[in-house]
C-alpha cells in the first residue's frame, strides 16, 4: 500500500541516517539492522555521532540530529578505520 506521508518521511530520515553512519561512523553496510529500529548497535552509533558533533545524546533521530546530518561537511569520516 502507498506509504502515508509520515511513514514516507520516516523512511527517508532512516535512509539518510543509515548513509551518514555508514559513511562517517563506520557502520557496517547491513540493511536489515536498520529495519529493526530498536537495534542496539544503531542506537549506539547514533549516540556516538550525537556526542561527537556536540548534540544532545538521545539515541533517536530527533529533529536536531536530522538537521545536522543534512549540513555540508568534510567527506573524511569522524571515526577512524
Amino acid at each position: 500500500y502507498p506509504l502515508s506521508g509520515a511513514a514516507k518521511e520516516e523512511d527517508s530520515n532512516r535512509d539518510l541516517a543509515q548513509q551518514y553512519l555508514e559513511k562517517y561512523y563506520n557502520l557496517e553496510k547491513d540493511v536489515k539492522q536498520f529495519r529493526r529500529k530498536d537495534s542496539n548497535l544503531i542506537v549506539k552509533k547514533i549516540q556516538g555521532m550525537q556526542k561527537f558533533l556536540g548534540l544532545e545524546v538521545t539515541g533517536k533521530l530527533d529533529t536536531d540530529t536530522l538537521e545536522v546530518m543534512r549540513k555540508p561537511r568534510c567527506g573524511v569520516p569522524d571515526v577512524g578505520h
Binding site: 562517517y24 556526542k51 549540513k71 555540508p72 561537511r73 567527506g75 577512524g80
Partner: protein, 378 residues
C-alpha cells in the same frame, strides 16, 4: 583534536604542493591565493614550510572533481560532502579533492574555498576530526565563520603541534596564532646583540640578510635596510633558510633549505625548482648545508656543512675533486658551524651566531671579528 589511526605524519618539514586543476567557479589566481592562505595558517604554528610545484608528483596534490573520481569516496553532488583529503604518505596520501558540484567562492556567499582548504590541509598533515565545535577540524562546515578574523583554535594548534611541534623560532608554549601582524616577539630584532642570520646573499648589488621568515635588504642608496617577509617577494619559497648565494654570471640567486634548493632571478622563482641538493654532487650523507658563497672572480662556489666545505666549479658545473676539506685547514680562525658567508671588498665574511669573521683570502687569516649585524648599521 585527534590524529588518524597509527598517527601518520610527514617525516620532513618542507613539503611540496601542486594545484592539478581548477574549478570554473573562481578565477585561477583566487584559487591560488586561497590555497596559499590556507597553507600559511598551518605554517604559522609549525616548523612546516611549503613550496609549489607546477608539474610532476607533489606531496599534496590538490584537485577538483565530481561524483566518482578514481578513489573509493565518490562525491555526492551539491551539499553534504564538500571535499576530502588523505593522511600523510606517498601517492594518493596527502592529496586533497574538492567536490566541484559545490559553488566555490572567495566569500561566504557559497562554500568558501579558503576555509575548506585549511580544514582539508589539516587532514593532509595528519589531523583527524575534532569534536570541538570551535575548531577548524570540526567536521561540519561553518558558513558563519568570520573570514576576516579567521584563526585556528587552541585545539587545532595543540593537535598539529602534537605532530610537528611549534615553529622553530618560538620555544614558549604553543601559540594560538593571530592573523594580524605578528607580535613583536616573533619578529627578529635588527640590532639585538645576540642576533644571527640564517643565510646571506648579494642580489644585483644589494645585500639580503635572511632570518626566520623575513629578510633585511641593504642597498647602496638607502643606508637604512628595508625589512620584508620572504613571502612578500617569493611566495613559493620556504622560510627559515639554510643558505643563499648569488652567481653573478647567471644573474641568479640560489636558495637552500633542507635537501632542496631553488633558483631565483629578481623576484621570479625559476621553473623546475626545487631540485635535490645531491644533484650538485653532494654525498647522500649530507642532508642539508649551513652556508654558501660564490666567488665571482674565480667562478667557484663554496658550500659549508658542519666542519667541512666543498668547492663547486661554476664553469664545468661540477663539484671539484678532493673535497670535502676541513674549514679549519683552509680558513684558519673561522669557527664552525658557519651560518652564512658573504664575499665583499675582496674579503670573505663568515657569520657564526652573533659573530662575524672577516677573512682575507690572500693573507689566509681572519683580519677582524665583528658583530653579525654590523651590516645593518647597528
Amino acid at each position: 583534536f585527534s590524529s588518524f589511526p597509527g598517527m601518520p605524519k610527514w617525516r620532513k618539514t618542507h613539503l611540496t604542493y601542486r594545484i592539478v586543476n581548477y574549478t570554473p567557479d573562481l578565477p585561477r589566481d583566487a584559487v591560488d591565493s586561497a590555497i596559499e592562505k590556507a597553507l600559511k595558517v598551518w605554517e604559522e604554528v609549525t616548523p612546516l614550510t611549503f613550496s609549489r610545484l607546477y608539474e610532476g608528483e607533489a606531496d599534496i596534490m590538490i584537485s577538483f572533481a565530481v561524483k566518482e573520481h578514481g578513489d573509493f569516496y565518490s562525491f555526492d553532488g551539491p551539499g553534504q560532502s564538500l571535499a576530502h583529503a588523505y593522511p600523510p604518505g606517498p601517492g594518493l596520501y596527502g592529496d586533497i579533492h574538492f567536490d566541484d558540484d559545490e559553488k566555490w567562492t572567495e566569500d561566504a556567499s557559497g562554500t568558501n574555498l579558503f576555509l575548506v582548504a585549511a580544514h582539508e590541509l589539516g587532514h593532509s598533515l595528519g589531523l583527524f576530526h575534532s569534536a570541538n565545535t570551535e575548531a577548524l577540524m570540526y567536521p561540519l562546515y561553518n558558513s558563519f565563520t568570520e573570514l576576516a578574523q579567521f584563526r585556528l583554535s587552541q585545539d587545532d594548534v595543540n593537535g598539529i603541534q602534537s605532530l610537528y611541534g611549534p615553529p622553530p623560532a618560538s620555544t614558549e608554549e604553543p601559540l594560538v596564532p593571530t592573523k594580524s601582524v605578528p607580535s613583536g616577539s616573533e619578529v627578529p630584532a635588527k640590532c639585538d646583540p645576540a642576533s644571527s642570520f640564517d643565510a646571506i646573499s648579494t642580489l644585483r648589488g644589494e645585500y639580503l640578510f635572511f632570518k626566520d621568515r623575513y629578510f633585511w635588504r641593504r642597498s647602496h642608496w638607502n643606508p637604512e635596510p628595508e625589512f620584508h617577509l620572504i613571502s612578500a617577494f617569493w611566495p613559493s619559497l620556504p622560510s627559515y633558510l639554510d643558505a643563499a648565494y648569488e652567481v653573478n654570471s647567471r644573474d641568479t640567486v640560489f636558495i637552500f633549505k633542507g635537501n632542496e634548493f631553488w633558483a631565483i632571478r629578481g623576484n621570479e622563482v625559476q621553473a623546475g625548482y626545487p631540485r635535490g641538493i645531491h644533484t650538485l654532487g653532494f654525498p647522500s650523507t649530507i642532508r642539508k648545508i649551513d652556508a654558501a658563497v660564490s666567488d665571482k672572480e674565480k667562478k667557484k662556489t663554496y658550500f659549508f656543512a658542519e666542519d667541512k666545505y666543498w668547492r663547486f666549479d661554476e664553469n664545468s658545473q661540477s663539484m671539484e675533486q678532493g673535497f670535502p676539506r676541513l674549514i679549519a685547514d683552509d680558513f684558519p680562525g673561522v669557527e664552525p658551524k658557519v651560518d652564512a658567508v658573504l664575499q665583499a671588498f675582496g674579503f670573505f665574511y663568515f657569520f657564526s651566531g652573533s659573530s662575524q669573521f672577516e677573512f682575507d683570502p690572500n693573507a689566509r687569516m681572519v683580519t677582524h671579528i665583528l658583530k653579525s649585524n654590523s651590516w645593518l648599521h647597528c
